[in-house]
């Protein structure tokens, strides 16, 4: 029996084409459902809170802003709340959620491990340490000069910390232009522990007010959102979105292993370097803008993988959408549970994410063999 290259039986090819078309159709439905869900959350989020506004009213205000409804709607207190308080908060939440979820998906692709996460390789911990140092030491340093620490110093500190820890990690794990994933994972754990212990030391040194700042920041919050903050974060997250289509093919090939990806024609080292820098940027930026928010990077890509499969061409953009939805949803919960006060959003995501992570670990044998 010879199975040499020959035209496949037409029935087989046709069946395959039908299957592929069916899969594309199912994926399109998933995209549409997710997008619709995001739109719904948007209306809910702009209306929900201590000062409740009905979703219909929110829609009217948005249409008025776009010039599609009477302009008189824009004068009231409701419009002020929707457009100047909740809108930047919503967008910041969506941006941070998208950035965290994409970083998670990138890390998992890079490490070929569904349990990888920016938190895992010490990027979040490094950003956290730098922020804590800014709060505790910066205050003291400036007090000597009779200055008050500007709030803006915190985001920059966190961003800087994220970048430094990623760079350190990369230098440790890269020899002769090759990054060892195993070394990187282990070095990430060590660096994360080091950053954690230094953060603990800073907490020990801090006074009561600083400790309170530190605690709230480490639990994550979208409370400080403003148009100014948003315009500082958006340019950092944008490159991530632009690079995604280029990275998707490379990450797909990497699933077979680094040597195999190279054989397939993928510039492996370049893909890895770009992914690492993008993760540092987006995690640094989002930690800076909203504090430490965990589990988005691990929960979202996994759910997306369950519904559309592991192809990064779909996984990356849909993770962005899903991450935005998760964080906006969690923010709604955080605002409603103890209204008129609000919970730090990190508590909500951890409450959802930690059990999910455990469930993932328990059924891990079925999703990966590493």
């Amino acid at each position: 029996m010879s199975l040499a290259i020959k035209p496949a039986a037409p029935s087989g090819v046709e069946a395959l084409a039908r299957l592929a078309a069916g899969r594309r159709q199912r994926n399109l439905v998933t995209v549409l459902v997710l997008a619709g869900f995001c739109l719904l959350l948007l209306l809910l989020s702009l209306g929900a809170g201590a000062f409740a506004i009905a979703p219909g009213r929110v829609a009217e205000i948005l249409l008025a802003k776009l010039g599609l409804a009477p302009q008189a709607l824009l004068d009231g207190r409701e419009a002020l709340v929707v457009l100047n308080i909740r809108m930047p908060r919503l967008l910041l939440g969506a941006l941070v959620g998208a950035a965290l979820a994409i970083s998670g998906a990138l890390m998992q692709g890079l490490f070929r491990n569904p349990l990888a996460d920016p938190g895992l390789v010490g990027v979040s911990a490094g950003a956290g340490l730098a922020a804590a140092a800014t709060i505790v030491l910066g205050d003291r340093l400036l007090a000597g000069m009779a200055l008050k620490l500007p709030f803006a110093a915190l985001p920059f500190g966190a961003f800087f910390g994220g970048l430094v820890s990623t760079l350190a990690l990369y230098l440790i794990a890269t020899r002769n232009g090759r990054t060892s994933v195993a070394t990187m994972l282990l070095a990430g754990v060590a660096l994360g522990a080091l950053a954690g212990s230094l953060t603990g030391l800073l907490a020990y040194l801090s006074d009561d007010r600083q400790l309170r700042d530190l605690t709230f920041w480490s639990m994550g919050s979208l409370g400080g959102a403003s148009w100014t903050k948003l315009s500082a974060v958006a340019p950092i997250v944008l490159p991530l979105v632009i690079a995604v289509p280029f990275l998707a093919r490379g990450l797909n090939a990497l699933m077979l292993g680094e040597a195999e990806a190279y054989h397939l024609g993928i510039p492996v080292q370049r893909i890895k370097a770009i992914a690492i820098v993008l993760v540092a940027l987006s995690v640094g930026a989002s930690v800076a803008a909203a504090g430490v928010i965990g589990f988005v990077g691990i929960v979202v890509p996994h759910l997306i993988r369950l519904s559309v499969g592991p192809d990064h061409r779909l996984l990356l953009p849909l993770s962005a959408l899903g991450g935005a939805a998760l964080l906006v949803g969690a923010d709604i919960v955080a605002r409603l549970v103890v209204a008129p006060a609000e919970l730090p959003i990190g508590i909500v995501t951890a409450f959802i994410g930690a059990p999910f992570f455990l469930w993932l670990l328990l059924r891990r044998g079925r999703i990966a063999e590493i």
């Binding site: 035209p7 087989g12 054989h263 024609g265 592991p310």
Partner: protein, 280 residues
């Protein structure tokens, strides 16, 4: 036209251990070259050197006259496809998707319908078209090996529009296959050679090697000790020296194809028990 791939005086060592000491060879299109040798002879390392996965400590590999080190990854990918021994996959891709990964680097020129057709043909050739929707991780080792073969075929076919001549590398491609699929995979590889590619296969089974090889390369302790037409280079002395076995060496009618039957190992490890094949 000259050889598509030329390797001159290759050497590769890691921390003082010479894995490949001296290897020169040329691959011709239309030919199936089979590399044999005992464990640790350097077969897989040679393959890695020839595919560009690792750089030699000495010597040079040229593909279409250009040094591998100076050729960008995507261009290499158009000119050669590789099926390695590693079959692990981190995420739950379907068989169809795994085969399609062969197009990630070189498939930019093709449209969706064209890609679908390439994948379907490759899956059919590898005999796994019926498994297309199955999750790769749930397959048996042999089935996974055939899917990886299909992936390499996809790459080869997609690259054909961008490269005039191609090489296919297969590292122990039949290690987990049953007899029927061993033969069908090697038949498919020979057909690819007949269509104008150069094919290099690392094999353990000497009888299959002599059956399928246009050119046999025998490796021993990091060096190529013999290469040429199988019946011309294989003799009792070579087999004793390289493989440490005594073989009964005969030729099968009508073509006089060499046929080898292992008689006894000469390794000196443990007690020497005669290994007699039934009916030998």
């Amino acid at each position: 036209m000259g050889a598509i791939l030329e390797a001159r005086d290759l050497a590769f060592s890691v921390r003082g251990a010479a894995l490949v000491r001296s290897a020169s060879l040329a691959l011709e299109t239309g030919q199936m070259t089979i590399v044999v040798g005992p464990n640790g002879a350097g077969k897989s390392t040679l393959l890695k050197l020839l595919t560009g996965e690792i750089a030699p400590s000495r010597g040079e590999v040229r593909l279409e006259g250009e040094p591998l080190s100076a050729t960008p990854a995507w261009q290499l990918a158009c000119r050669r496809a590789v099926m390695v021994q590693n079959q692990k996959l981190a995420f739950p891709f379907s068989v169809y998707e795994v085969a399609r990964l062969g197009l990630e680097g070189v498939g930019r020129a093709q449209g969706r319908a064209q890609k679908d057709a390439i994948v379907a043909r490759a899956l059919d050739t590898a005999g796994v078209i019926g498994l297309a929707e199955r999750q790769y991780q749930t397959l048996s080792g042999g089935e996974q090996q055939r899917v990886q073969f299909a992936r390499a075929l996809c790459q080869l076919e997609a690259g054909r529009s961008l490269a005039q001549r191609q090489v296919l590398f297969l590292d122990e491609p039949i290690a987990s296959l049953d007899l029927c699929h061993q033969l069908s995979l090697l038949d498919a590889a020979r057909e690819i050679a007949a269509q104008g590619a150069a094919v290099l296969v690392v094999l353990h089974d000497l009888n299959l090697a002599v059956t399928y090889a246009d050119r046999l390369v025998v490796m021993h302790e990091g060096a190529i000790v013999a290469q040429g037409e199988p019946s011309a280079i294989l003799d009792d002395e070579l087999l004793r020296g390289v493989f440490r076995v005594s073989l009964s060496f005969s030729r099968l009618p009508p073509a006089g194809q060499p046929f080898l039957l292992p008689q006894q190992h000469l390794s000196g490890l443990g007690s020497v028990v005669p290994m007699r094949a039934a009916g030998g």
